[in-house]
Symmetry: C2
């Protein structure tokens, strides 16, 4: 038995560790509810609406596979973790619809409250760790956060494109609005923004996406500027 | 611009990189189908059946939070990746039901064929990487694989326990069978096996789980020995 093994046995044999484990298991069970938060995006093959847990899984997989296209040096494992935890707050805060101006005005306050309640189920060190990862994602000021955002934006674009732009059509979304969102992708990856740009142009060409939408589109545009998430 | 930036620009400006990206995007879209593979486990709160993508997300989150309990030194990021990719083959192979003896006898062949078709959508280096990660998980001979299996086993146990053992009752599963499965958890983490053991004992006490089930249980036990996955 190595010294490290001895220390592990000593530490884990004591009561505080069991309290620690109980908290971790309570959080893990609470996190299960992420699977009940449904987004506006539909699965490929004209499927049902996607939920936050499977969306997060998809973005983590994408981060691993597309990390080579990041504008800056990133820590892929940290980006994957960011992808995995970034939507857990929506258990309480709900998925704020991209064009819901009222919802958007309260989104930050709702997500902050959710963040404190949900992550605080964990032992203090892990709660602080995940709150820090979540805050970093939201602030979008580091290379890792910018690449995680690129994944978060590109993923629904790929699904929606595969469905002939069904989600855009259903919500009367314009290319101008989609560009407003995908410009954030460019901060994480110019290369992947070029992919998004190609998809948007192709869908304009196919008539799936009007370039702009007159006065209605102008209203939507204002709302789009305020929003941060859950683009279709 | 650094030398690394120059090299990146040079490499990415060439046609072969676009072919590479196309393959990556094709795989990412194919992987979306993981969300349509439903398991026997139900979500907490007596919810619907869980799908492979959200199950994989949950196990990756658990790996990050519970990694400290691994019997051996593990690479948590690698375990998370293993959790994320371990069920993608079920897009073709389907979820093999825990007590389907016929299904189990062909499971390995079906999953091997699926593995080749699906991962080969990726550029060769990434295909080889993910096949290698998947093979390592299946072989269960490394510390990382053993801990990933512990997550894969503990996760449905936690959900099923939260639902009063509903999945066990629906399928007439016995404690003997559940132990058969959770002993694999012990290979990855003795500490987490103790959690599983506590849950099993508690459910026996509550009458949610018969200790053994006579001749029927004996039949089931044989089948359980042959199976590798998707325990309830």
């Amino acid at each position: 038995m190595t010294v490290a093994d001895c220390m592990r046995t000593m530490t884990k044999g004591e009561k505080p560790v069991d309290e620690r484990l109980k908290k971790q298991l309570a959080f893990i069970l609470e996190a299960d509810k992420t699977k009940n938060v449904f987004r506006q995006t539909h699965l490929s093959g004209h499927g049902r609406r996607e939920n936050d847990a499977e969306h997060s899984w998809h973005t983590a997989l994408m981060a691993y596979l597309l990390g080579e296209y990041a504008n800056e040096r990133i820590d892929v494992a940290r980006v994957m973790l960011m992808c995995i935890v970034h939507d857990i707050v929506e258990i309480d805060a709900g998925d704020t619809y991209a064009y819901d101006a009222d919802g958007l005005s309260t989104q930050k306050a709702r997500e902050d409250a959710a963040k404190m309640r949900i992550f605080s189920l964990l032992p203090e060190d892990q709660a602080n760790e995940l709150i820090s990862v979540f805050n970093e994602f939201e602030a979008n000021e580091t290379a890792d956060a910018r690449f995680a955002h690129a994944m978060d934006n590109l993923q629904p674009l790929l699904l929606n494109d595969s469905n002939g732009g069904g989600d855009w059509k259903a919500h009367g979304v314009t290319a101008e609005q989609v560009y407003g969102r995908q410009r954030i992708t460019a901060l994480g990856s110019e290369k992947l923004f070029a992919v998004a740009d190609g998809i948007i142009r192709e869908n304009i060409g196919k008539g799936n996406l009007p370039e702009s939408g007159g006065s209605d589109a102008s209203d939507n545009k204002k709302k789009t500027h305020a929003r941060r998430k859950n683009s279709v």
